[in-house]
């Protein structure tokens, strides 16, 4: 079920009171949530419920084996590897088999070796990448003694939790399991939650859909047909669209979970104001970047020599993995490489400044703005590979930037205004945004009802017919 549908609204308005009706009995509450989540997932494809069940059992068994083997490090390490490998193997089969089989066939064919592995098209289970990363975090947190292994029902409820299963945020066992075990506080931030849901709907249905149909889709579908400035605005438009789409989904997920009494981690913090690509990843899809930092980069760094070269190599490895996490295609590898190389370059530059006795970054507002502009364009370069259907397609888009001036029917005042508005909201100080949030949170019942109803009407009038899929729903 997609969030912005009437079907989902009916589903949620049934689940919400049911969850609170049994809130004083945590096990019952988990059971209700689990049944609701299974229903949510089955609406997409009921065949994969068995896969989800398998994932949960594997995770639960591995976590308990890790905890039981605490006194025997070798055995514990083996249990951890078994669990992690098992989860990655499942992800690999569903997400990467087709890609690697086709690439391997082509590569060997070029060497004169003809093999014909079965090329089966595996349907990617909804949210498999998000669930896998959450499940692995459970195993590592148990190994690090951050948390005790969850009970089977707790783990099942957490991993299948319907607000997050399709597109995150990627939560951790230490964040969600205690909230599922405990009786929730019977007062909720209802206004904030409903405001987040309405804001997410507006971002996704009105703004992101508009940018996609007004310019981004056309530019990426046939860059040669557009003038250079139009292609550039199309790339900016896609950058804004992707942010609106993904952060809109996250807003809705956080809001829905709040109404159920579950607090989810933030996933975005004005990413396009970042002054470096490294900073960008502390503001964009924050739950993925902290996962990569804590569970890949840090262990790699601890095992590597403490040299700039080793750090740069590790950054590149992590970002290539981040790229591949998004999808099995060379375009995602290139996307990761753009970010990895930029971050490695930033690290090397910072080390150089340190050696010369200079502060890590130069001061002054002009330099700050220049860094923001440069960073934004590096990120846009990454988005070109992220959005394109193939490497050739990405190169075509970049080459079309040199198409020169010409008619640019896609660059309308409204398109420019929407893109500018997205960037301006990014520049608004956190304090101002918090003040608006606090004002909304304390609105009375009548203005809240009227405001939400009008907001939903506006979203429906200005939104597209039908619900376009969430861009991150495909990962």
């Amino acid at each position: 079920v997609l969030f912005p549908t009437i079907t989902f609204a009916i589903f949620f308005m049934a689940v919400w009171p049911a969850v609170w009706a049994v809130a004083r009995w945590p096990v019952l509450r988990q059971l209700v949530l689990l049944v609701a989540s299974c229903g949510f997932y089955a609406y997409w494809d009921e065949r994969y419920l068995a896969l989800l069940a398998g994932l949960v059992v594997l995770n639960h068994a591995s976590a308990h084996a890790i905890a039981r083997a605490a006194a025997r490090p070798g055995l514990q390490r083996a249990a951890l590897w078994f669990g992690v490998t098992g989860h990655l193997a499942i992800l690999g089969w569903f997400k990467y088999y087709g890609f690697f089989a086709a690439e391997l066939t082509s590569a060997l064919d070029r060497l004169g070796l003809r093999i014909e592995p079965p090329l089966v098209q595996v349907v990617l289970p909804l949210g498999i990448s998000f669930v896998t990363f959450q499940a692995i975090s459970h195993l590592i947190e148990v190994r690090r003694e951050v948390i005790a292994p969850g009970r089977l029902l707790e783990v099942a409820t957490w991993l299948t939790f319907f607000p997050t299963i399709a597109s995150g945020p990627i939560t951790r066992a230490s964040e969600l399991l205690p909230q599922l075990r405990d009786r929730p506080v019977a007062r909720i931030e209802a206004n904030r939650a409903m405001w987040l849901i309405a804001r997410g709907l507006f971002k996704k249905m009105v703004l992101a859909s508009y940018l996609a149909s007004a310019i981004a889709d056309d530019v990426f579908a046939g860059p040669a047909r557009h003038s250079g400035p139009e292609v550039l605005v199309g790339i900016y438009g896609y950058a804004a669209q992707l942010y609106l789409d993904f952060s809109g989904y996250t807003d809705m997920a956080i809001g829905l979970a709040l109404l159920i009494g579950i607090r989810l981690p933030e996933n975005f913090n004005a990413p396009y104001v970042a002054q470096t690509v490294t900073e960008f990843w502390t503001r964009w899809h924050m739950t993925l970047s902290r996962w990569l930092r804590d569970f890949v980069f840090t262990p790699l760094a601890l095992r590597s020599a403490r040299t700039t070269a080793a750090t740069c190599r590790n950054l590149l490895i992590v970002m290539l993995l981040a790229g591949l996490w998004h999808g099995a295609a060379w375009t995602f590898v290139a996307f990761g490489a753009v970010h990895g190389l930029a971050m490695a370059g930033e690290r090397a530059l910072r080390q150089r400044r340190r050696r010369l006795g200079r502060p890590p970054v130069a001061g002054g507002w002009a330099r700050r703005v220049a860094r923001q502009v440069v960073t934004f364009h590096i990120i846009c370069l990454g988005w070109v590979f992220f959005r394109a259907e193939s490497l050739e397609g990405a190169v075509d888009v970049l080459a079309a930037l040199a198409n020169g001036w010409g008619p640019s029917p896609g660059v309308t005042l409204l398109v420019a205004a929407v893109i500018a508005a997205v960037l301006l909201v990014h520049l608004a100080p956190r304090v101002a945004r918090d003040r608006v949030g606090a004002r909304v949170a304390t609105l009375g019942a009548v203005p809240t009802i009227a405001g939400l109803a009008v907001a939903l009407l506006v979203i429906d009038v200005f939104g597209p017919e039908g619900v376009p899929p969430f861009l991150y729903g495909g990962f």
Partner: protein, 352 residues
């Protein structure tokens, strides 16, 4: 091991504690959310009614319209439909005001016998089946290009760009595309393709039209005698009449129509439905001068005539041509289709 011990369960808010700012009790929150959704439903009742009417015939349609009918009546009685009308007028959005009922499509079923051996058999190895005894077509030039319109449902989402690129590459075609998700010919109450096509060909002064519809049409249809289930004789007669009417409408004024048939589908059940629909297109095309049917079934089947997500690309290596829904084409699949469509166009027009 202290870290491994479970944290003590927290408790609900202390009974006499001061409520935290910005929070509400759950019951009150639920009432507010319900009231907001109810008011939104009244304000948006006409759009909800349209959504309800577009449900496939069956229990979903019955339930949705049973809820939406009184809702829209109440909303109109309270004048709560006006804010939406006001927004639609102000921003030039499609109106949800009740429209006069469109004329019922012709219901006189044309003869259903298949004409000509070239049109039978869904697994024909030929990718195009020409039935046209076409009058002479002009020679398009870069100064006076062929005005081509590509219209269809979500199947044209990926195929459209490939066709536009292929048309552009000729240097003598000016192509435009119109895509409408979830649309077809069974549900004009949801989207009225005949009316829209009429507007589009006039707007673009189209000389040739590529049509790709059908993937959403495997559902019940409204006939003058009431709803008819998919595949029944009444359904076939009504659908055939609608297809024939669209072909007549498009092919008038000397326009040439290229009607794309559905490719083989992964689901055997869905594939059988698509074959039935495609057979109707093929048969109707034989009856219409200037309508050319493009068979995509063989193009997207493997050597054994079965569905395959991977087929050889231009370099002979297997490429993924179908999306994981087993229905739509990937960009590589669209690249496989585009030359076939362009070949059909070339047969009629001298593209140089």
């Amino acid at each position: 091991m202290a870290l491994l011990e479970r944290a003590p369960a927290s408790v609900t808010a202390p009974r006499h504690a001061r409520p935290r700012k910005g929070t509400r009790g759950v019951r009150r929150s639920f009432v507010i959310a319900g009231a907001a959704l109810g008011l939104a439903a009244l304000l948006d009742a006409e759009a909800l009614h349209q959504t309800a009417s577009s449900q496939p015939f069956g229990w979903r349609y019955d339930v949705a319209t049973a809820v939406a009918d009184p809702l829209v009546d109440l909303s109109r009685a309270l004048h709560l439909t006006e804010p939406r009308h006001w927004l639609e007028d102000l921003f030039d959005k499609p109106s949800t005001r009740p429209q006069p009922a469109p004329p019922t499509p012709t219901t006189e079923p044309p003869p259903t016998t298949t004409q000509g051996s070239s049109t039978t058999g869904s697994t024909s190895s030929s990718t195009t089946t020409s039935t046209t005894v076409a009058p002479a077509h002009r020679t398009p030039t870069s100064a006076d290009p062929l005005r081509l319109l590509i219209a269809g449902d979500s199947m044209t989402e990926s195929a459209g760009p490939a066709l536009l690129d292929a048309a552009d590459a000729t240097g003598v075609i000016r192509a435009d595309r119109e895509l409408r998700y979830s649309s077809g010919l069974t549900r004009p109450d949801y989207f009225d393709w005949p009316a829209r096509l009429g507007q589009l060909v006039a707007e673009h002064d189209a000389e040739a039209v590529v049509v790709w519809l059908g993937a959403n049409d495997a559902q019940g249809i409204q006939t003058p005698n009431g709803p008819a289930g998919f595949g029944t004789d009444a359904w076939i007669a009504e659908y055939r009449a609608r297809v024939a009417a669209v072909m007549d409408q498009l092919a008038q004024d000397g326009r040439t129509v290229y009607w794309i048939g559905e490719p083989i589908m992964r689901s055997a059940e869905f594939d059988a439905r698509m074959r039935l629909i495609t057979d109707i297109y093929r048969e109707e095309a034989t009856r219409h001068e200037r309508v050319r049917f493009i068979d995509t079934r063989a193009l997207f089947s493997d050597d054994g005539g079965s569905y395959s997500a991977y087929l050889p690309g231009s370099d002979g290596q297997p490429v993924l041509v179908r999306r994981d829904d087993g229905i739509h084409l990937t960009p590589a699949g669209a690249d496989r289709l585009a030359p076939t469509v362009m070949d059909a166009i070339r047969e009629d027009w001298d593209l140089g």
